[in-house]
Amino acid sequence: MNRVKGLVKKPPFWGFVAILLLLAINLAKDPRYLAITVSPVTGNLVGNVIDILRVVAPILLIAFGMCLVIATGGIDLSVGSVMAVSGAVAMQYLHDHGAPDSVGDALAAIGLALGVALLVGLVNAVLVAVVGLQPFITTLVMMLAGRGLAKVVTQGQNTNAVNDPMRWIANGYVLGIPVVFLLALVLIVVVAVLIRRSALGLLIESLGVDPKAARLAGVDRRALLFSAYLLSALLAGIAGLFATGSVMTVDVSQTGYQAELDAILAVVVGGTSLAGGRFSLGGAVVGAFLIATLDKTIVFLGVPASATPAFKAVVIVVLCLLQSQRVRGWIGQAGARMRAARKAVA
């Protein structure tokens, strides 16, 4: 009983409940919602769950990066633009130089794209850690500049390209599971192990809670900020490759548009405070899955386009309310009162 109570207090718990609830709603609409079949044409696993796995992959990556940056007491608003830049570089390279089936070209495009993404991250890190600008302003500027850079790279065009290895990474399957999901999974496991098995987690948290005290305790603020912003940019760059690779087109004004909001939402739903400090990578995973499931559910249910933002907002607000200790207290009190009233009547 106590363990259940402890679980209820952990914020990711409610995100998890929300995911199950959304799946249940979808099941109510179509009992075969969770069914996974083998496509007779392509031989791959087909199903709504598989779609969710594919959609969640980029969100997982940026949410992870965002979680670490937020934990240091900062924020990275540039992740969406980094996605666009990275996608733009890859697509433009493949468009100009790529042979349709060259693995080497795909790898070159990926390397180039991630290099540019890291460059944006480096600018963020230098401005925040060395110059001492506020993370919000710094990354806001890079959010605008990044998208501008993407437009420069493609000369304002929505460049498309043909390259089968690249397309396979974003759309292919291994053992029936989408490649993007497997890659995202491997990446976040590596990052999570790196953070939690080393002392990085503790150091980042202490920096996020109290930078002054952390400095006097010998915490190397600069190195940590560099790692966090660079990692965030790298993960966002990979997410950008996933997003553009899935349609082999970069949409300079839409790729990664408002992705930073999804990432922040996933992190907050996962129980990490925007104030920095304590963070939960597991929570961010739950948050990312919630957002992916929510997006897919809206389409599956056929929620009218005009009602979509409201629907999303309601789900998120309810979730945040459930996570608030105070609101849970009220609900508990109301419940107790009702029980008491019922007892009195009896």
Binding site: D30, D51, G148, V247, P304
Partner: protein, 337 residues
């Protein structure tokens, strides 16, 4: 040729003006309007035109603004001052507009990033006797007394053509899905209106849903992937309100193991090069152009206005539709955007 050009709603007054000034436009380097109301100060030299533009927004806008800049060249006797908005910010546009008025340019071209909030600026231009021509984007509330004319392709008309094609293509009706742009944007409403004006009358067309994909290929793919599953692939037609979304829909259809153009037909609006290529490849079934290249028409209007002629307050730019791979292949080599 399977393409059809439709020229509509040309006002007679404008047709006359165009005819008269067509000659002037042909004569190239000479300044056609040496002595007009707005340019008294310095009748000599080129005609200055202030272009309050949107700036980088996408392929369509890029083609449109490039086309305007290519039209009003120094060789043609113009001095075009191009002022794109910074990050689609209306304030930067108003600032540019005001400084054009203060400079006393001969004509102002305005593509407003936001419809509302232009009354004061337009009145200033009116007091300074500088004619303002709206390019593509309208203003809200629409008060034709504040500007000379608005030159734009007509979204309702373009979408009506799509509806007409769908109606002809599916004589027995179809189950269809609409991919919309961002909710609440004027363009989206107009394109819905035109499409529904035809399809709304057909009871054998069943709308299984509509969802925004924010003009994005990637989102459209994700939406259609789920929509197909939710409907057991029982959809025959997708109306995509722009090219990018249509291309995303095609990919989702292919991933689902269906054949675009056979199992599910997709139509789009805009007519960018990518879409024309897809139409040529048989992946898209119909592309309605939303023509960005109306520099020539604009030039005629400007000359008419400077010569003191009158033009209709609403001038619709003719657009084309493409309904077959052959039409697309024929048009592809000339596509500028």
């Amino acid at each position: 040729m399977h393409s059809t050009t439709r020229i509509t709603k040309w006002s007679t007054a404008f047709a006359a003006g165009a005819l008269a000034l067509g000659l002037a436009a042909c004569s190239g380097g000479t300044t056609p309007a040496g002595d007009d109301g707005a340019g008294d100060g310095g009748a000599e030299g080129p005609i200055t035109i202030g272009f309050v533009a949107v700036g980088p927004e996408g392929a369509w806008r890029a083609a449109n603004e490039q086309n305007v800049q290519d039209t009003f060249t120094a060789e043609a006797g113009f001095d075009l001052k191009y002022a794109p908005a910074t990050n689609l910010d209306q304030k930067s546009q108003i600032d540019a507009f005001t400084s054009f008025v203060d400079e006393g340019v001969d004509v102002i071209l305005l593509s407003a990033t936001e419809g509302s909030g232009w009354e004061a600026s337009l009145k200033r231009a009116q007091e300074a006797e500088i004619p303002v021509i709206l390019v593509d984007r309208g203003i809200e509330p629409d008060d034709p007394s504040l500007y000379v004319t608005r030159l734009a392709p007509d979204n309702v008309e373009v979408a009506t053509a799509v509806g007409q094609w769908a109606s002809d293509t599916f004589p027995d009706g179809a189950k269809y899905f609409t991919l919309e742009g961002p909710t609440g944007v004027g363009v989206v409403n107009e394109r819905n209106e035109g499409f529904d004006s035809v399809i709304g009358k057909r009871s054998d067309f069943v709308k299984v849903g509509a969802q925004t994909a924010n003009w994005s290929t990637e989102e459209a793919k994700s939406v259609i992937e789920t929509v197909l599953k939710a409907n057991n692939n029982d959809i025959q037609y997708i109306f995509a309100q722009n090219d990018e979304m249509g291309l995303g829909a095609v990919q989702a259809i292919e991933e689902a193991g269906l054949v675009p153009g056979v199992d599910v037909k997709v139509s789009t609006i805009d007519g960018t090069k990518n879409a024309m290529q897809a139409l040529a490849d048989g992946k898209l079934s119909f592309v309605a152009e939303y023509n960005p290249l109306f520099g020539d028409t604009l030039l005629e209007v400007v000359n008419t206005v400077l010569a003191g002629g009158s033009v209709d307050s609403q001038i619709i730019v003719p657009s084309t539709t493409f309904d077959s791979p052959e039409a697309a292949k024929a048009a592809l080599p000339d596509r500028k955007y």
